[in-house]
């Protein structure tokens, strides 16, 4: 019996196989069967039949890869939602917990938009901190969210309502402040909380994401 294939050998095979898919078409792939196999909706025998086609046809292999990617994402996005939905956060500890969940669920995942391999965090101890006075969006501070981050960075801000019903993004921000559009606030009850996060594109390359901050919005900023 030949010696076991080493990890580097197996990895080289994986890479060579993945390259096969670069030019693959998906024309003859049966998407329903592939999705059903990836998500486990099909019977085991039917799943094995699909894998047989995947082994034989690059078009099926590419379609399988995409299905796996998106089905995993669907499962990932579903899990924490079950925890959050319908919850009223009435105490600070609960709020902190929920904010943490939402960080993982919403903004955390939202900010993981770049390909996995290219994700990068600044190795130095740079941070982004909230500077929003009183953690409130109010007329006193011009209805703005404010933060401090690395010099020369360009920021992208994402915010969402507590129930994740509305999401707003603003990209290409050079300053550490952003006036929340009244239209965004108009549909939200006064006193409700917004969760927000900032990601910096650093001057020297790379990215840095903030923690998730919570801000209460006041009625006066809705118009």
């Amino acid at each position: 019996m030949s010696p076991r294939v080493s990890e580097p050998e197996a990895e080289a095979l994986r890479v060579a196989y993945q390259k096969l898919l670069d030019d693959a078409s998906t024309d003859d792939a049966d998407l329903d069967r592939i999705w059903g196999a990836v998500t486990g909706e099909l019977s085991p025998a039917a799943r094995r039949d699909v894998v047989e086609e995947v082994a034989r046809h690059p078009s099926w292999a590419l379609a399988w890869r995409l299905a796996h990617e998106l089905a995993s994402a669907a499962a990932e996005s579903k899990q924490p939602r079950a925890v959050v939905s319908g919850r009223r956060w009435s105490t600070l500890p609960l709020l902190a917990l929920a904010a943490g969940v939402v960080l993982a669920l919403g903004l955390g995942i939202l900010l993981r938009s770049s390909p996995r391999g290219s994700e990068y965090r600044e190795p130095v101890a740079a941070t982004i901190e909230s500077r929003t006075p009183g953690d409130a969006i109010s007329k006193r501070n011009g209805c703005r969210l404010e933060w401090a981050g690395p010099a020369g960075a360009v920021f992208e801000l994402r915010m969402t309502s507590e129930d994740l019903g509305r999401v707003h993004t603003a990209a290409g921000l050079a300053a550490g402040a952003y006036r929340v559009p009244p239209e965004f606030l108009a549909e939200l009850p006064p006193g409700s909380r917004l969760l927000w996060q900032v990601e910096a594109r650093l001057a020297g390359g790379g990215r840095l994401a903030s923690a998730t901050f919570v801000a209460t919005h006041e009625k006066e900023c809705r118009s």
């Binding site: 030949s2 010696p3 076991r4 294939v5 095979l13 994986r14 060579a16 196989y17 993945q18 390259k19 670069d22 030019d23 078409s25 998906t26 024309d27 999705w35 990836v38 085991p44 094995r48 894998v51 047989e52 082994a55 034989r56 690059p58 292999a61 590419l62 379609a63 399988w64 890869r65 995409l66 796996h68 990617e69 998106l70 089905a71 994402a73 669907a74 996005s77 939602r81 669920l105 919403g106 939202l110 993981r112 938009s113 770049s114 996995r116 360009v154 969402t160 129930d163 994740l164 019903g165 509305r166 999401v167 707003h168 993004t169 990209a171 290409g172 050079a174 952003y178 559009p181 239209e183």
Partner: protein, 180 residues
């Protein structure tokens, strides 16, 4: 630089955040499969997909859509877009639009990669069915546990089939003079 702002709202019971997540997961999937010629336009690709997904969601009036359904739709739309673009390949006008240089920029290396790919497919087809299935899922990037779940085998059996299959593959490839 002018800021770019966007607000997404819930549609048919799907929270806006779900659309946001779908968009970003689509972006990730596209980044993984995007051919170099599309690299500079991959954001357009994702945007085209999102427009179609939102349109489908809006048109399904009265029907409450689940997040899972949304991802299934995203999958179909993504595949359709790939098919459409394969039929009408776009050649970038500006050389800077092409993605980051890879070893395949060299035609000789690209030809060699294709030859290796063909050899892998041929060697896969020569494996016994069970080994072929286990190795295929392994090459697709699945863990042993995932492959075992999909194939409905124990992890131990799956692992054995993967490593025996990979040994067979190595032998088959070496007879072809191919070394990945």
């Amino acid at each position: 630089m002018l800021p770019v702002e966007e607000t997404m709202e819930a549609a048919n019971g799907i929270p806006a955040a779900d659309f946001g997540l779908v968009r970003l997961h689509l972006a990730r999937a596209v980044a993984h499969v995007c051919p170099r010629a599309w690299w500079a336009r991959r954001d357009d690709f994702v945007q085209d997909c999102m427009v179609r997904i939102l349109d489908l969601a809006r048109r399904s009036e009265g029907k409450r859509l689940s997040a899972t359904y949304l991802y299934r739709v995203a999958y179909s739309v993504l595949i359709d877009e790939i098919r459409r673009r394969r039929r009408r390949p776009e050649t970038p006008l500006d050389p800077d639009e092409v993605g980051p240089a890879t070893r395949e920029s060299d035609p000789e290396t690209a030809a060699s990669a294709k030859e290796t790919g063909r050899a892998i497919l041929d060697c896969l087809s020569r494996l016994g069915r069970d080994r072929r299935h286990a190795v295929t899922l392994y090459l697709q990037g699945h863990s042993i546990a995932e492959a075992a779940r999909i194939l409905d085998w124990t992890a131990k059996r799956t692992e054995n089939l993967v490593y025996r299959g990979l040994s067979d593959m190595r032998e088959c490839l070496s007879t072809k003079g191919v070394r990945p």
